[in-house]
Symmetry: C2
Subunit: 469 residues, 2 copies
């Protein structure tokens, strides 16, 4: 292993000297309650965009705030690194989750407060704090050296917390202007304190509503029970066929397109300091489930799933009501891994249910696709990943681990697909950060180390890009 | 077959002459909105009790209105038939179902109206009209002959539509006073127009709420899905084990106490003019279900069932929410046949679920018994049944059929158990009578024929009782 790299002294000294200023400015940003989901906060969301616009202009970027059908995109550019230098696109978002329930916050959600080395505020880790780490890294370069080693585009949207409905069209519309050699996103968490992490995969999603209809209305379960197919029972029986006894999904063809994860990635995941006992305790269960023969992290990050997200039928209030329901509903979703496609899973799932509940079964079944997103997996090869490994080692004193994420972040795939550039997901949150809950926080030290990582990443990327070019 | 019996001429003439009066008085009774479930109707419910009290006193009964913790019992007695005459207890109820939704009534619920030979009003068939047929039959005897051939107790409660919570204690408290040789109840329907029917069996009930708990709270189905046992899926899989492939209930020991129905009763049921095609059309399904090898009426009347009455878990609103629910609930009920007992079924059901979802399964299961009632079956032998067969033939011109009822009427078993007397269930409603729905009606002709049936029943019962004694 090479000797431990170090952050360039001039940049780290500047960041040390400007530490108080960095937090003072971040606190200003955090005080703006830019809750994109709530129209009563529209002015605040606009104010956050304006604040970020001004901050990026102040450090030397050319900034535009571009309208979308929803909240605007702040687009900042610095393109003076020269025609041979690569371009990095930094993506982040200036909107935040709603802060409710307010009474569960130890200190007010929009009054940033440091306790025990953690900066508490709504948006501290998701994503204002992580975005701000990039801005400070850029500021260090420009102030100390008067230039950046790469061309940089900062794209900050204001609708990430409402599903980024206007982002893909925005990227499509501006794809020439946004052309870049790598996209860097810091909107995720490290595996554990002190363990820098590169997020290498996201699962996709195929989400359905299944409705099983029996009699044309609810019937009395005494007068009709025993001769009529109960749609709730028919639904339960159909749902029970979705997994086999070993926890695998029993839909014909479901695994056909699953591409195994690289052995090195799986090996790395198995080496991570994960404890099933702690995981069980965290979620409050006595035993775990899922596919036999896989580790918990493999199940969460590398394997597809089928889950019931909701069930509704008949009488659900207090006490007893003797109803034979006219229909029953389930929300059923699949998490997908490369190269599964939501539209293929939809076809297989529908065919499976139709086989279980044919027209002759006394009930009819209707499946509505509600949401879909493709899985994503990084190659982990190439200059931006190499640069990230070096910079993370320099900032955190150890090599990063490769982690996965069981959830879906559709914009990642959008960037890769539309811009044709690799996406580096490197985040500085930590487990328990309460990203969407009261008492959201970012570690003060993680913010500092994240800033240093980014300061070094731009330089390493430029060097490796030049070497490879 | 003996020659067709006929209603005694003096009684039928009197009933003909008093027909308009009978309906005029019934309409008065029906105009009182005695909705026992609604406290804003408490004064109306008391008024209906008072109206009935006065009507029974007017025809010559000794009447008391006796308090209960809820609505009172109107208890009327005529005991001058002599020490060797038998005693009949006629049970009915003066309370009615709520009339909502009011806008679906063709004519107002409490404004009795005749259309197409049907008297429409809330309570017309359930049960004021059927109770009133008895009162008119009693009035005929007393007015024409000055006496009744049997001693008669009329017990009318005001809480049948809210589950008769105070009736069993009332019968227990007054069991000596209520001692009788037969209980007669007219609160049910005939199999079809023109086909008089004796209701010979009621199914029992064992109703449960099942809660399956997994993680201590809802989890993100992307972040946790695949490694955590989903309680909604665990519930669905457990529910799917309740029936085998032939529609039989697959709980160990479930059928152990089932006593076959008499061959003659089954044969009679098979001979009834039932059409599966019409039944399917009525409830709006393309195929029926239930136990293989049984007819629809057998399934509905003579076989136990297991139904899901309700399902609730996770997210059930519009659209997609990626939640892995912390718990899932099902309401599950069993209809029971002789000699199944709800408390035994509870034990067997719990044991079944615990086998499906042991502690090692990653979820816990809790079963709460919400409601239970024993099944009931009449012997169909003895003077009151013989008398009913004669009287029904006389009034309707054909022998009655024996029918079953898939639902439960707990008071029937209470009367039989506490008073030790056989219970005759002979009703004059008809299919489609809308007993608990808008546009409730009783057939005008059925009311007349029912009144005549009762007038003859008392006399036949007295004769047969004397012959048997």
């Amino acid at each position: 292993m090479p000797s431990t790299p170090t952050i360039p002294r001039d940049l780290s000294s500047w960041l040390d000297a400007h530490d108080a200023d960095a937090f003072a400015q971040l606190n200003e940003f955090l005080r703006i309650p830019s809750v994109s989901a709530r129209s009563e906060h529209n002015a605040d969301t606009a104010a956050a965009a304006g604040w970020l616009h001004a901050a990026l202009a102040r450090i030397g970027f050319t900034v535009e705030t571009l309208p979308t059908p929803g909240h605007p995109v702040v687009l900042a550019e610095w393109r003076k690194a020269g025609p041979n230098a690569p371009t990095i696109l930094i993506y982040g978002h200036y909107d935040v989750q709603p802060a409710e329930p307010l009474e569960l916050w130890t200190s007010p959600a929009f009054d940033p407060t440091v306790r025990d080395g953690k900066l508490f505020a709504r948006g501290s880790v998701d994503d204002k704090g992580q975005l701000w780490a990039h801005v400070m890294a850029l500021a260090a370069h420009l102030d100390v050296r008067g230039r950046l080693p790469v061309n940089v585009i900062v794209l900050a949207e204001g609708e990430e917390e409402v599903g980024s409905p206007n982002l893909a069209p925005f990227i499509e519309k501006h794809m020439i202007r946004l052309a870049c050699d790598a996209v860097v996103i810091s909107d995720s968490a490290m595996f554990a304190p002190g363990i820098p992490s590169i997020l290498s995969s996201l699962r996709g999603l195929a989400y359905f509503e299944v409705t099983v209809r029996g009699p044309s209305g609810d019937l009395h379960s005494g007068m009709y029970g025993g001769a009529v197919v109960n749609p709730a029972m028919a639904l339960a029986r159909a749902l029970a066929t979705l997994h086999d006894a070993k926890g695998r999904i029993a839909i014909k063809g479901f695994y056909d397109k699953v591409k195994p994860f690289p052995a090195a990635v799986l090996k790395g995941m198995r080496a991570l300091p994960h404890s099933d006992a702690r995981f069980r305790k965290e979620i409050g269960v006595r035993a775990l489930g899922g596919e036999a023969g896989k580790t918990t992290l493999e199940k969460l990050w590398t394997r597809p799933t089928c889950e019931i997200n909701g069930l509704l039928s008949g009488y659900t209030g207090e006490g007893a009501k003797t109803v034979l329901p006219g229909e029953a509903m389930a929300k059923v979703s699949f998490r997908l891994v490369p190269d599964q496609r939501p539209e293929v899973i939809e076809r297989l799932f529908k065919a499976h249910l139709m086989r279980q509940l044919p027209a002759s079964s006394g009930v009819t079944v209707k499946v509505t696709a509600l949401h879909g997103g493709r899985p994503w997996r990084a190659d982990l090869d190439g200059p931006v990943f190499d640069a990230a490994r070096i910079a993370l080692r320099a900032a955190f004193g150890r090599a990063p681990v490769i982690v996965g994420e069981g959830g879906s972040i559709p914009v990642v795939g959008d960037f890769e697909r539309i811009l044709g550039a690799p996406v580096l997901l490197v985040g500085f949150g930590l487990p328990g950060e309460n990203a969407h809950a009261p008492d959201e926080w970012i570690g003060v030290r993680n913010f500092r180390d994240g800033t240093r990582t980014m300061a070094m990443l731009y330089e390493e990327f430029a060097a490796r890009h030049a070497a490879g070019a």
